[in-house]
Amino acid sequence: MIRRREARRGGLGALAAVLLVLPFVLPNTYYLNVAILAGLNAIACIGLNLLIGYAGQISLGHAAFFGIGAYVSAILTAGQGWPPVLALLAALVLNGALAFAVARPILRLRGHYLAMATLGLGIIVAIVLAQEVRLTGGPDGMPVPPLVLLGWSPPGEAAWYGIVAVLLWIAAWLSLNLARSPIGRALAALNASEIAAATAGVDVARHKSLVFVLSALYASLAGSLFAHYAGFITPAKAGFLQSVELVTMVVLGGMASTFGAVVGAAILTALPQIFATFHEYETIALGAILMGIMIFLPRGLVPSLARLAGRR
């Protein structure tokens, strides 16, 4: 217990240190841009890890919440002239409500059935975003006005990096706090045995809904920020490939590891940006990485490395 609490504090300290040092060692703004995109993916992955890693519930449609976050922010700021922060909060409310509404029926399913249902949810959202041309601009996407915080707009890559780094650290901190609370133990318990968790007094359906909503909120926040940062969004960001990419990041970094989600997101965001050829074969590479991890490193990178370090 005590050892674990120290590991958590050490991890948060290390994350803060890396986030602080990173902008000074990156050679130019292009890499800063990559770091910002990685940070946004990491926020979504920390949320998805709560669902997949801790609670053991798969979602193959999580990009839907990212996409809704992005489009609600885009539509409310561009079309309705809302302040970006208010639009971001509205996106959180809408995503939370949607996740809450679908959670009970969807999360009664298990295994393949749950995977199929979340896949369906993702596809429906992606189709709606592509078809509602009047609202969303259709498959061509739509431009998004810049982010404004209390009259201040992040002027460039460095300011954006600061915002994303702070939010990423807070996202990790919240996730780690939850994991070691009674709620976090309840999630890990229902992951291992639903009947045993229920017998111990855990309301399984309520906890599944709760973690599903939380993970949707993380994705929504990442989506809203991405829309403002990129300045342009397309329905592809809500699509199936995007959902698979998020799952692959979580699995690569390590299930039930908050820092694993961050590492997985960083690696899989950086690879295609740094190696242009990787980009062409991205779909194949994602599949190969997923298979390789499942076969050779089923715990994922961070838990496996932590175990190696612990053995020394």
Binding site: M1, W173, L174, L176, N177, L178, R180, S181, P182, I183, G184, R185, A186, A188, A189, N191, A192, S193, I195, A196, A197, A198, T199, A200, G201, V202, D203, V204, L210, A256
Partner: protein
């Protein structure tokens, strides 16, 4: 008044009656055993009482309140704890954390303080951890508290399940074959443990095949055969009951 009252409880699976019109009452503070040949419906009866399976008919009352068909987590809140025939432990967690999950209902479970890591959550965790250590000491797993639960031996897992169930401060504890797969030393330890639990005022119900254990600890025995109640009484009365003897001899042939 009796703690648990079971009235014409029935469960049919696809036309087959696993439990048929079973009625009995359990007096508070006593150790009760449910015995019977394999397939007599003992585990199904447990699942019906603990809410894992919904009954096809009949009533279950706890302290006079109807609890028929309530969900397991609601029954846990009402004070029913249980262990499973095949241990259902949380393998990836430590032994102590398994017991802390059993304390779930007594802890601060508010979302915001949990997310913010507020001191109240830390305090609850510390209290739960201390409580878990006491219970683990009681079941003889005090030294294993920080080990991963998945690495425990079978008999230790069974004792861990008992500690986890006790962590919820149950009034009624259902133990499904606590001595199955245990060696004689471990069985003796379990026997002493059950007696200690009952002495602390918890009403215990056992499903058990080990007759020496059953006869040693039971104040009251219920005999099931093919889903029906065959007999119900003190250990001495059951031992002398001709219908029970016939059922057991019949099975041995």
């Amino acid at each position: 008044m009796s703690l648990l009252e079971v009235q014409s409880l029935s469960k049919t699976f696809g036309g087959v009656a696993a439990v048929a019109e079973v009625s009995f009452e359990l007096e508070a503070g006593h150790v009760h055993s449910v015995i019977g040949p394999n397939g007599a419906g003992k585990t199904t009866l447990f699942n019906l009482i603990a809410g894992a399976v919904r009954p096809s008919g009949g009533k279950v009352r706890l302290d006079g309140a109807d609890i028929t068909g309530l969900a397991p987590h609601v029954l846990a809140e009402r004070g029913i704890g249980r262990s499973f025939q095949t241990p259902q432990i949380f393998a990836a967690m430590s032994v102590a954390e398994n017991v802390m999950v059993g304390r779930h209902l007594r802890l601060d479970r508010r979302l915001l303080p949990s997310l913010l890591g507020m001191p109240a959550v830390d305090r609850a965790n510390r209290a739960a951890r201390e409580r878990a250590q006491l219970l683990l000491d009681q079941v003889g797993l005090g030294q294993e508290a920080d080990r991963p639960a998945g690495g425990l031996a079978y008999g230790a897992m069974k004792r861990l399940e008992i500690a986890r169930a006790l962590a919820g401060d149950p009034r009624l504890l259902l133990l499904d074959e606590p001595a199955a797969g245990l060696n004689p030393t471990e069985t003796a330890e379990i026997t002493a443990l059950i007696q200690a639990i009952a002495a602390a005022g918890v009403t215990v119900v056992l499903v058990e095949h080990d007759m020496r254990l059953v006869m040693a600890v039971s104040d009251h025995i219920i005999v099931l055969d093919s889903g029906r109640k065959l007999a119900d009484g003190t250990a001495a009365a059951i031992r002398a009951d001709p219908a029970v003897i016939a059922a057991y001899l019949g099975q041995a042939q």
